[in-house]
Amino acid sequence: MVKHSVNLILAGPGEPPYIHSLKTFLPIIALVSLVVFVLVFIISVVFVDSNTKQLNLLKNEVETLEKKISEQKNVEGIYTLTVMRLSVLAQIFSSGKNFSKFIPEIDSLQGKGITIDSATIDKQGSVSLSLLASSSAALDDFVTLLLEKDREKTYTNIAAGGTVREKKGDYKLSLTFKTNQAFLQ
């Protein structure tokens, strides 16, 4: 006679599928994260160590160079101060105007019955002249010369003050005008 055994214990409620999934994947995730942590930690240690070593090497090199440069402080001082002063001097020099054409210009206006008593020029190129013309013809020639200069744009804003005829037949005249930019360069 064959014996049959029957399990009469009621089967318990089955695990929900998400618990089953957790039981399968969570250990894998934990293991992977542990391995990644170890690797990243090792990398971070190597990263810090190599950077620190390089930093120390650089610090040494910088210190050596700084020491070398500080030994040349005198050279640096003389160079820096010379360049600073040269820079200021160059600025002053370029801001100045060249008045060397002024006297030849006065000479060029004189003669042919024209005598200049006085002339003034400033750094903006404004000129004022006080002159004596020996005759009306000389005065006329002088005015023609001025008109030519005006046409050439050598002088602008030419204006004559009062003209006085003196006893000897001379004409006394005062003039103002402005020279062009090139005149004082």
Binding site: K23, P27, A30, E66, I69, N74, V83, L86, F102, T120
Partner: protein, 243 residues
């Protein structure tokens, strides 16, 4: 009760163990890995700063090695006479004496506007156009032949003495061929800075205008201001600031 807890633990031991490991990894990362990377990043930034500093220092070192100190010392001495540190009226007088001899004019009158005697820079007159120098306004009356007068005007800013910029000229006819000039101008002075800058600050670059002046200075000889011989008798400190 205890048995129930043990049963639950045994049933979910894989999940509980995994969660403990994950929390431990998070905590360890927070305490070790994050600070390590923060430290590493800081070191890296410091390293980059040092690399750029090292570049400047190397450049500075190589430029310093190429500087002709003697030439610069000579130029500096000349610059002191052209653009001194203070008003230095002695060098103005000696400039005019030298110009009188050099150009053949006669200086009838020189007038300097002393202005503030105070050493406080706020009370000194600044040059126009943002130039970091101070001015000494002056008026000069000169007589001479037209050629000599023209030379005189040109010599005022040819670096043979104090640099003078002309503001205005009044020309008047004199006796015979002699003419008279009344020049209004400005001499300059530039006090040196007391601080030169840090060791890692780069050397200032020389522009072409400055180089031209430097070359010009190398070719000219400036007559020393009179009175220097007397000054040598007075006991002083270092004669040369750079030795």
């Amino acid at each position: 009760m205890q048995n129930n807890l043990l049963i639950i633990i045994r049933r979910y031991e894989l999940i509980i163990g995994s969660v403990i490991i994950l929390f431990s990894v998070a905590a360890l990362s927070n305490f070790f890995v994050v600070p390590n990377f923060a430290k590493g990043s800081k070191t890296l930034a410091e390293k980059q700063d040092l690399v750029s500093k090292l570049g400047i220092l190397r450049q500075k070192d190589s430029r310093l090695a190429g500087i002709d100190t003697a030439a610069y010392q000579s130029a500096f001495a000349k610059l002191n006479q052209i653009l001194p540190e203070g008003k230095d009226y002695v060098s103005l007088f000696s400039t005019f004496d030298a110009l009188e001899k050099k150009t053949g004019v006669t200086i009838a009158k020189t007038e300097f506007q002393l202005g503030s005697i105070s050493t406080s820079s706020s009370k000194l007159s600044r040059a126009e156009g943002g130039i970091p120098a101070y001015v000494v306004p002056l008026n000069i009356s000169v007589e001479g032949e037209p050629d000599a007068l023209q030379k005189f005007i040109g010599a005022l800013n040819d670096f043979s003495g104090r640099l003078i910029n002309i503001e205005s000229i009044k020309w008047a006819e004199g006796e015979g061929t002699v003419s008279q000039l009344a020049i209004s101008g400005r001499a300059f002075f530039y006090p040196l800075p007391s601080v030169l800058g840090k060791i890692d600050s780069p050397l200032p670059k020389m522009e072409s205008g400055q180089e031209n002046i430097l070359n010009k200075l190398a070719q000219i000889t400036i007559a020393p201001a009179e009175g220097i011989g007397e000054a040598e008798k007075v006991p002083v400190g270092k004669k040369n600031l750079f030795q």
